[in-house]
């Protein structure tokens, strides 16, 4: 914590002279902050309660039933959905495996490319703005049917990718229609949309004072050391943000798998990622009870992962507001 706690500052704030030295945590200032805190938080709190919390609790309740969207016999079935999921449902494990593989591969790749290109573009030269906008284009169309169709065309047996490989004498596979390779094409589709994290990295890069770099190179530090000791630490809150959110997003991948897999998670369930499986169960088969159970397991698993991120983040994320949490 910084200056507030020193008596010198307190004296300048006339209101706080009433605060006894040993009880700095309480008093008008703190109370004012508490009130302000809740005041600023109130829109979110209200929204959360009404729009999110109640549906969340409702879906939690539903996960213990076998409701099929309109009840004739939406019976309470206890933990049966959860038990069935873990012990009797190979499709569940398939979707877990598919999703985790995707997240583990696509996220680091996407962030690395995003950071690399952000750094390439972070110097103000002619055309950088245009290049930046162009790299961002894929993210604009990201979730669209049109693009997934394009991807299917490019990566199919007779598509452009194979034509390109043929120049090198390689016979390409039918990437997008082969259960072994189709997730690879989806990973590529995800990484291709690196424009979004790139923009965030760019914003973060802009916040790093140039003086730091100048001072470092005066001291003789080369670009790699500058990267390691200035760029990375200064960017660490943004890297953290991108890492957490890209990971969460990759676990939630839906649209590209949905369209490329033909709406059913094919071929042979190779693209049936977790949220797709959930959607097909809940809406396709109208088994909302089971789908709710799937949703809560997802929340717990990814929530746990996020907690791990936050805990370990303490060790490498450097906040300049001194508020390490």
């Amino acid at each position: 914590m910084v200056a507030t706690d020193t008596p010198a500052t307190d004296l300048r704030d006339r209101r706080s002279t009433r605060i006894p030295a040993k009880r700095r945590g309480s008093g008008v200032n703190t109370r004012r902050e508490m009130v302000a805190g809740y005041a600023f938080l109130s829109p979110w709190l209200i929204g959360f309660m009404v729009i999110t919390a109640i549906p969340m609790l409702y879906s939690f309740y539903l996960s213990f039933t076998n409701w099929d969207l309109i009840s004739n016999a939406g019976q309470y079935v206890g933990f049966r959905n959860y038990v069935r999921m873990f012990t009797q449902d190979p499709a569940f494990w398939n979707s877990v495996r598919t999703t985790v593989t995707y997240a583990v591969v696509a996220t680091p790749l996407k962030l690395a490319v995003a950071l690399g290109v952000a750094m390439l573009l972070s110097r103000p030269r002619r055309g950088v703005g245009t290049a930046r906008a162009l790299f961002y284009l894929p993210s604009l169309l990201g979730g669209s049917v049109a693009l997934a169709l394009v991807w299917q065309a490019l990566f199919s047996r007779a598509g452009a990718i194979n034509a390109f490989l043929a120049w090198f004498g390689i016979t390409g596979k039918p990437w997008v229609n082969d259960p072994q390779y189709v997730m690879g094409t989806i990973v590529l589709l995800g990484v291709w949309q690196f424009g979004a994290p790139m923009v965030i990295f760019l914003a973060g890069l802009k916040q790093i004072p140039r003086e730091l770099y100048e001072a470092a190179s005066v001291d003789g530090a080369g670009s790699w050391r500058q990267f390691r000791h200035i760029t990375l630490p200064s960017l660490s809150p943004v890297i953290f943000f991108n890492l957490v959110l890209e990971t969460i997003h990759s676990f939630q991948i839906f649209t590209s798998a949905y369209v490329i897999g033909g709406g059913q998670g094919g071929p042979v369930d190779a693209t049936k990622v977790y949220t797709l499986y959930l959607y097909l169960t809940g809406f396709g088969e109208s088994r909302i009870g089971y789908a709710s159970a799937l949703a809560w397991v997802f929340l717990l698993a990814v929530g746990l992962l996020t907690v791990v991120f936050f805990r370990t983040g303490r060790f490498w994320v450097h906040y300049s507001d001194g508020d390490e949490r």
Partner: protein, 298 residues
């Protein structure tokens, strides 16, 4: 923080110093790299553009880049072909909703993020964790109870279910983004303002908000784009065809057993890129110009 930016990894030092003679080579290398990447990244979009120029019966059968018989027919048909509604209607609806969401998100996420990032109050940690948790629940399970709620309010078939939740900061993504940005703003500024007699609200208004501009701009951009492309929620909440938005409209071209109009669909997809791209271009200038931080020093 001025507009000059930190050096990227691969390039040698540029700040007037010893390595200047190497900088030309480095620049060329970098340029080549960027151009190469651009070509790779833009190819699928080029393909999409080319596909939109192919006559409808060629789209499915001709998988190469160039059309055999280029035509603008798809654009004409896509725009005017629907006799019951014009695609322009979808555009207008999408724009209204997207702009509404942008404003709602920027305002609400900003105030919420300020609370989490800068103010101390009981249970803050818990609420923050809860907020992050809301990111994690797949929205397909929430949609049924939420639909019931909005039906009760009589908001079905209006843009309200799509905008109002954003006005209460339900997009945890942006709250989190702004929190992270705010935490990079040095606390000394807050202290200085407090010393000058600012209330928390004053600090928010005079210090934090202006400095969080990159985060707000980023939020605006992403809000617009995600809303523009959001199919499922818009499908569920909008009933009348003349309230439909672009994503729903695009799918009308690809009916399973209905009209198969891939050509017009690709054409309209290209067109639907335009507003988004423009929005992005306009706002990214704010990112480019950077922040004037004269006030930070001294």
């Amino acid at each position: 923080m001025t507009a000059v930016l930190p050096r990227p990894v691969a390039a040698p030092s540029r700040a007037g110093g010893p390595a200047r003679s190497r900088s030309v080579g480095g620049t060329v290398l970098r340029t080549v790299l960027v151009l190469g990447l651009l070509a790779l990244v833009l190819y699928p979009l080029a393909w999409l553009l080319a596909a939109s120029l192919k006559p409808n019966d060629e789209v499915a059968s001709n998988l190469s880049l160039l059309p055999h018989a280029p035509t603008l027919d798809n654009y004409v048909r896509g725009w005017t072909g629907m006799q019951t509604i014009s695609f322009a209607r979808f555009y207008v609806n999408s724009t209204v909703i997207a702009l509404g969401v942008v404003v709602a998100n920027c305002v609400s996420c900003l105030v919420t993020a300020y609370a989490f990032a800068r103010l101390r109050f009981p249970l803050r940690g818990m609420w923050f964790a809860v907020m992050i948790a809301t990111l994690l629940l797949p929205h397909h399970v929430l949609i049924v109870p939420q639909f019931v709620l909005f039906k009760f309010l009589g908001w079905i078939d209006t843009p309200l279910p799509l905008i109002v939740p954003k006005a209460v900061a339900t997009e945890a993504f942006f709250v989190f983004l702004m929190v992270q940005f705010m935490r990079s703003i040095p606390r000394e500024l807050d202290q200085a303002a407090k010393v000058d007699g600012c209330s928390p609200f004053g600090i928010f208004w005079y210090v934090v908000m202006p400095l969080a501009r990159p985060a707000v701009v980023t939020t605006a951009i992403f809000s617009f784009i995600w809303t523009w492309n959001d199919f499922f929620s818009q499908l569920i909440y909008l009933n009348s065809p003349d309230h439909y938005t672009v994503p729903i409209g695009l799918r009308l071209f690809v009916g399973g057993e209905g009209q198969t109009e891939l050509g017009p669909m690709f054409a309209m997809s290209m067109l639907s890129l335009v507003p988004v791209f423009l929005f992005f271009l306009a706002f990214q200038r704010l990112l480019v110009e950077g922040i004037n931080t004269e006030g930070l020093k001294g």
